[in-house]
Amino acid sequence: MGDTRAKAPPGELMPGTLDMLILKTLSRGAMHGYSIAQFIQQASRDVLRVEEGALYPALHRLEVRGLLKAEWGTSDNNRRAKFYTLTAVGRRELDEEAAYWDRVAAAVTRVMQTA
C-alpha cells in the first residue's frame, strides 16, 4: 500500500496542505469534523472551500498516524459527535509543517515579485 498522502484532496488546495490546515485548526482546541470545515472556510474568508467529505479520510489518516486523538463527546446542540484533539506528536508535526510552509510561501512570493 502506498502512502495515502499521495491521494491529495481534490480542489484548489496544494497536496498535503489540508493536513496542515487541520492541524492548525485543532491547535485551538478540540473540534469535531463539521466545525473544522466551518472554521477553515470562515478563516480563509471563503477562499478555501474544501469538498467537505475529503476532510474525513484526512482526519482518519492523521488519527491512525497518532497526530490526532479522537473522543466521542457532545456537540453544542447536544448531539453525539467525534471530537479531535492534537497529540504531542501532532503539535510537533504542525510546527515543522508551518515552518516549512513559511519558507516555501516566502520563496514563492519572492519569485513571483522578482520575475
Binding site: G33, A37, E63, V64
Partner: protein, 892 residues
C-alpha cells in the same frame, strides 16, 4: 506505510464493527449539521438534504477511503487466505484427513522426542545455576585414563589450593540399615561435606544442614538430615523429628533437618545424609592413597571448565611432587554435572531426534505430493485466478497458507498425541530417567512445535506452488477434458517418492541395526549362566555381646544373636525350589566390587601405570557351581579352606595369562599390595573363566578377578540362588527363611540376574524399541506415498492403458508397465537410502554392538521396504488391467 500506524491498524482488525459504526455516525453527524445549517438559511427540507450531500461529496467512496486508513492489508489478505484454505480443505475431506494424520504423526513424534531431549538439558537440573556445577574425579593414566575417585587428603588440598571454584564438597553414597520401628530397612544415603547443600542451592524444609564443625573429619559427629519422603514414610511426618535420634547401622544419630520434597541428592535415590566425617574411620580418611569418592564443585562465575581443568592439572603435578608414593601419575577430571547426570541419555535421544526428523520429512513429502496431485486437479481454478489477475506471489502465498493451515491442524493433533506418548514412553522406558526429567509441554516445546509446523507448512505449500508457476494459461483454460500430467510435475512427484523411500530405508536400516545390537547383547556370554538365578543382598548384624535389656523393649538395643553366613546358606538350600545357593561379598553386575593392587610371585617391579590391579570377591565354595562359572584349571575351595585365614585364591584366566602364560598356574603365588608388602602369599588353587562382572558388553577395565574364601566376618552379603522354579517365585520363601533365622537382617536389592543383565542393555533396548516404532511409521507413510503416486499415475493413464488394451496388449503387459514404473522409484529410493545409511551409521556407533550397516539386518530391512512398496504399486496395477478399453476411451 508509516511504521507508527501499524499497531493501531492491527488493533483495528479486532474492532472492525465498532469502527464501522463510528464512521457512519461521524459522517451522519456532519450531514445533519450541514442540513440544519441550510434549513436555518431557509431551504426546504429536501433541498437542504440534497445540498448537504452535494457539498459533502461521494459518501460511499469517502467511507471506503476512511476505512482504508484503518486496514492492515497483509493481515487482511492472510485471514482471507486462511478462510479460503479452510473452505478448500473441507471440500476434500479424504485428502485432508490423510494429510492431517501424516502430519500429526510427524509433528507429534518430533514434539515428544524434543520434549524429552529438552527435559534432559542442563537447565533442567533442579539445582541453583546448574551450568556452573561440576564433578571432580580422581583419575589415573593406565592403559587408558581411568576414573578412580579421590582421597580425603587430596580433596582437602584441591579445596585449599584451587582458585577456580566457589567451593567443593566430597560426597559418597552408601546403603545404611535403618533400625527404627518394626522392620530394619536398607536406606540409600549420602555422606557429604557441609557445603554440599549450599553448592546445590537447596535449603532444608525443617531444621538445618551440617555445620562446619560437623565437617571435621577428625571428630565425627553423629547427626543426620533426612529426605521428605523418608520423614513421611517412616516417621509419619513427625513435627518433632528435629532433635529425635534414629538408629543407623549400630549407632544412634541425631536428626538435625529434613530436606524439601523431591530432593534426593545427586544420586537421585538418597533418603538420608550424614556428615562426610562419618563416611570412614578417621584413620582411613587420613590415608592419601585411599581413594574412592567424587567431589562436587561450583565454578566461580566466569571460570571455564578448561581453565579449572588446567589449574587442577597444575595442582596434581604439585601433589605428585609432594607425595610421589601415592600420587604418581594421578590427575583430576573436571566433568560438567549435567553430563554426569543426564549425559548418558543424550546419545539415544539425539539418535531418536534424527529418526523423528526423518519421519516428519517423509510426512511432509507425502502431504506435498498430495497437494501436488490436487493442484493438478485445480489447474483450471488456478488458471482462472491467474487470468483474473492474481499474481504469482499471491497464488504462492495462497498455497503456502493452505500448507500452513494443514500443518497447524496436524500440529494440534500431534501435540495431543505427544502428550499421551511422552508419559507412556517414560513409564515404559527400560532406561531410568532421573526423577527431575519431567518432559512437559512448556513454552520451549510449544515454540519448537510451532516453528516445525510453519517450516512444514512452507515446505508442503511451496512444492505445488513451484508447480503452479509452470501453468500455461491458454492450455489450461482450454484443456478441460484431458487432465494429462506435465512431465515436470511427474518428475517432481517421482523425486518426492524416491526421497520418502530413501528416508524410510535409512530408518529401517537403523532400526534393524538396533535390533541386531540388542540381540547381540542378549546373546553375549557374560561368563556365567544368568538364567534362573535370583540375587539378594543382606546385611548381617555385627555380633555384639548380649545386652541386659531384651531387644523388644529398648529402642536401639543391639540385635539378637547373629546367624552367620554359612548357617544361613544351609537354611536357604532347604527351601523347596532352590537348586543351589552361594554367598559372597558381591555378585556379578550388582556394582559392589572393589579393586585392589596385587603382586605376582616373580613379576618385575611395577609403577602406577602397570601395577597389577584386580577386583576381589570373597565367595563360598559353591559360588562357581551356582553361577556356572567354568574352571579352566584346578578346583574350588575345599571346605577346610573356606575360612578367612586360609592362604588360597582362585583367579580369573586373564591374571594367569599375564604372569604365567603357558604354565600350570595352580600353586603359583600372589599377594595384595606391592611385592615388598607384609601381606601373606596366597596360593592359586583354581583358575576360572573371565566373568563380565562389572558391565556389559564388557567390563569397564580389563582387570582380572581374584576370588578368596568367604569370611563370616563380612557383614554385607550377596546371595545367589539357582532355582529350578521361576526365580521370582522364590522371593517370598527365601525372605521367610532369612527372617526365620534372624528377623533383624535387612534384605534388599532382590533381583533376578536376568534383570541385572537387562539393566546393562537398557539404553540399547530403549533406542531399539523407539527406532522400531518410528521406522514402522516411516515405512507406513512411505508406502502410502508410493501407493498414492502409482494410483494417481494409473488414473492419469487410464486412456493410454485403454488404447494399449484395445490394440491387443495383454493384462500382464499392463501389469509389467505399471509395476515397472513403480519399481524404478523403489530402486532409486533404496539405492539412495542404503548409501545414506552407510554414511550415517558412524553417528550411532556408540549405540551399536557388533553390527554394521553391511549386515543381514539391513538386507532384511531393505527387502521389507522393497516388498511392501512394490505391493503398493501392484494394487493400482491390477486395477489398471481391469480397465475396460471402451470405457477408457470415453474416459472424461
Amino acid at each position: 506505510m508509516n511504521v507508527r500506524s501499524i499497531a493501531p491498524r492491527i488493533r483495528a482488525l479486532f474492532r472492525r464493527q465498532r469502527l464501522e459504526r463510528d464512521l457512519d455516525e461521524e459522517l451522519a453527524f456532519h450531514l445533519a449539521m450541514r442540513e440544519a445549517d441550510y434549513r436555518s438559511g431557509g431551504a426546504a427540507p429536501a433541498d437542504a438534504r440534497h445540498a448537504a450531500r452535494r457539498r459533502f461529496g461521494n459518501v460511499t467512496y469517502l467511507k471506503e477511503q476512511c476505512r482504508d486508513m484503518w486496514t492492515f492489508h497483509p493481515l487482511e489478505t492472510l485471514s482471507q487466505d486462511i478462510r479460503y484454505a479452510l473452505r478448500t480443505l473441507r471440500r476434500s475431506p479424504g485428502f485432508t484427513l490423510v494429510a492431517i494424520f501424516a502430519l500429526a504423526v510427524g509433528i507429534g513424534s518430533n514434539t515428544a522426542i524434543f520434549s524429552m531431549l529438552d527435559a534432559a538439558r542442563t537447565r533442567a537440573l533442579p539445582y541453583r545455576d546448574p551450568g556452573q556445577l561440576v564433578q571432580l574425579w580422581g583419575n589415573v593414566q593406565r592403559a587408558r585414563v581411568e576414573r578412580r575417585g579421590t582421597s580425603y587428603p587430596d580433596f582437602r588440598d584441591w579445596r585449599t589450593r584451587a582458585r577456580s571454584f566457589d567451593d567443593m564438597a566430597a560426597f559418597a553414597s552408601q546403603l545404611l540399615t535403618l533400625n527404627d520401628g518394626d522392620e530394619p530397612e536398607r536406606i540409600s544415603s549420602e555422606s557429604v561435606s557441609a557445603p554440599y547443600f549450599a553448592l546445590l542451592g537447596v535449603q532444608p524444609a525443617r531444621g538445618r544442614t551440617f555445620s562446619a564443625a560437623e565437617d571435621d573429619v577428625a571428630r565425627p559427629t553423629l547427626v543426620a538430615v533426612m529426605s521428605d519422603g523418608l520423614w513421611k514414610r517412616r516417621f509419619g511426618s513427625d513435627p518433632g523429628i528435629v532433635g529425635r535420634s534414629v538408629r543407623l547401622n549400630t549407632r544412634s544419630y541425631t536428626v538435625i533437618g529434613v530436606m524439601p520434597p523431591g530432593f534426593n541428592g545427586l544420586s537421585d535415590t538418597a533418603e538420608l545424609w550424614l556428615p562426610f566425617a562419618v563416611y570412614a574411620p578417621p584413620a582411613s580418611m587420613a590415608e592419601r592413597g585411599n581413594r574412592g569418592f567424587a567431589v562436587l564443585a561450583r565454578l566461580r562465575p566466569g571460570v571455564t571448565i578448561d581453565a579449572a581443568q588446567r589449574e587442577l592439572d597444575g595442582i596434581s603435578k604439585q601433589l605428585e611432587a609432594e607425595h610421589p608414593d601415592t600420587n604418581e601419575k594421578r590427575a583430576v577430571e573436571v566433568s560438567p554435572l549435567d553430563v554426569e547426570l543426564v549425559g548418558s541419555l543424550r546419545p539415544a535421544l539425539q539418535t531418536l531426534m534424527a529418526a523423528v526428523a526423518f519421519v516428519l520429512l517423509i510426512a511432509c513429502a507425502n502431504v506435498a505430493n498430495l497437494l501436488l496431485a490436487r493442484s493438478e486437479a485445480r489447474r483450471r481454478e488456478i488458471a482462472v485466478r491467474t487470468a483474473l489477475g492474481a499474481g504469482r506471489a499471491r497464488l504462492l502465498r495462497q498455497l503456502i497458507t493452505e500448507g500452513c493451515v494443514l500443518t497447524a491442524i496436524g500440529a494440534v493433533a500431534g501435540l495431543v498425541m505427544a502428550r499421551a506418548a511422552v508419559a507412556a514412553l517414560i513409564a515404559q522406558s527400560p532406561v531410568t530417567f532421573p526423577s527431575f526429567v519431567t518432559p512437559g509441554l512448556d513454552v520451549r516445546v510449544a515454540a519448537f512445535t510451532i516453528l516445525v509446523s510453519i517450516a512444514c507448512g512452507v515446505l508442503v505449500g511451496i512444492v505445488p506452488g513451484l508447480q503452479a508457476r509452470a501453468v500455461d494459461l491458454t492450455d489450461s483454460l482450454k484443456d478441460s477434458a484431458r487432465g494429462s500430467d506435465g512431465p515436470r510435475s511427474q518428475r517432481m512427484r517421482s523425486s518426492l517418492v524416491v526421497a520418502e523411500l530413501s528416508l524410510a530405508v535409512v530408518l529401517l536400516i537403523g532400526a534393524g541395526l538396533m535390533i541386531r545390537s540388542v540381540r547381540n547383547l542378549a546373546a553375549l556370554n557374560p561368563g556365567f549362566d544368568p538364567s534362573s538365578v535370583l540375587t539378594l543382598h543382606i546385611s548381617i548384624p555385627r555380633a555384639t555381646p548380649p545386652d541386659a535389656n531384651p531387644p523388644a523393649s529398648a529402642a536401639g538395643a543391639p540385635p539378637p544373636p547373629v546367624v552367620y553366613g554359612r548357617a544361613l546358606l544351609e537354611r536357604l538350600r532347604s527351601v523347596p525350589g532352590v537348586a543351589a545357593a552361594a554367598l559372597g561379598t558381591d555378585v556379578p553386575l550388582d556394582g559392589n566390587a572393589g579393586a585392589v593392587f596385587y603382586s605376582a610371585d616373580g613379576q618385575p617391579p611395577a609403577n602406577a601405570q602397570n601395577a597389577p590391579r584386580a577386583y576381589v570377591h570373597r565367595v563360598s565354595p559353591e559360588f562357581f557351581d551356582t553361577l556356572r562359572i567354568p574352571f579352566v584349571h584346578g578346583r574350588t575351595f575345599a571346605d577346610a579352606e573356606a575360612v578367612a585365614s586360609s592362604a588360597v585364591a582362585i583367579v580369573s584366566a586373564r591374571l594367569t595369562a599375564r604372569f604365567w602364560p603357558g604354565q600350570d598356574p595352580v600353586g603359583k603365588r600372589i599377594k595384595f599390595g606391592g611385592l615388598a608388602s607384609n601381606n601373606p602369599w596366597l596360593s592359586i588353587v583354581g583358575v576360572v573363566g573371565e566373568v563380565k562382572y562389572r558391565g556389559l558388553p564388557d567390563n569397564p577395565t580389563a582387570d582380572p578377578d581374584i576370588y578368596l574364601p568367604f569370611a563370616d566376618r563380612n557383614q554385607q552379603v550377596a546371595l545367589a540362588v539357582r532355582a529350578n522354579v521361576p526365580p521370582s517365585s522364590l522371593v517370598a520363601p527365601l525372605r521367610a527363611a532369612i527372617r526365620g533365622a534372624d528377623p533383624s537382617i535387612p534384605i534388599y536389592a532382590v533381583a533376578p540376574m536376568d534383570e541385572l543383565i537387562a539393566g546393562q542393555t537398557a539404553q540399547s533396548r530403549f533406542t531399539m524399541w523407539l527406532m522400531g516404532v518410528f521406522a514402522a511409521a516411516a515405512l507406513m507413510l512411505a508406502v502410502v506415498g508410493i501407493y498414492g503416486v502409482m494410483a494417481y499415475l494409473v488414473t492419469q493413464r487410464t486412456r493410454e492403458i485403454g488404447i494399449r488394451l484395445a490394440l491387443g496388449a495383454a493384462a500382464p503387459d499392463i501389469l509389467r508397465l505399471v509395476v515397472g514404473n513403480g519399481a524404478k522409484l523403489v530402486a532409486g529410493g533404496v539405492a539412495i537410502g542404503v548409501a545414506a545409511a552407510f554414511a550415517l551409521q558412524r553417528l550411532i556407533s556408540s549405540l551399536l554392538f557388533g553390527v554394521t550397516a553391511a549386515d543381514t539386518a539391513s538386507a532384511i530391512a531393505v527387502a521389507v521396504l522393497a516388498g511392501v512398496a512394490l505391493l503398493a504399486c501392484y494394487v493400482p496395477a491390477i486395477r489398471a488391467t481391469r480397465v475396460s478399453p471402451l470405457r477408457a476411451l470415453r474416459y472424461e
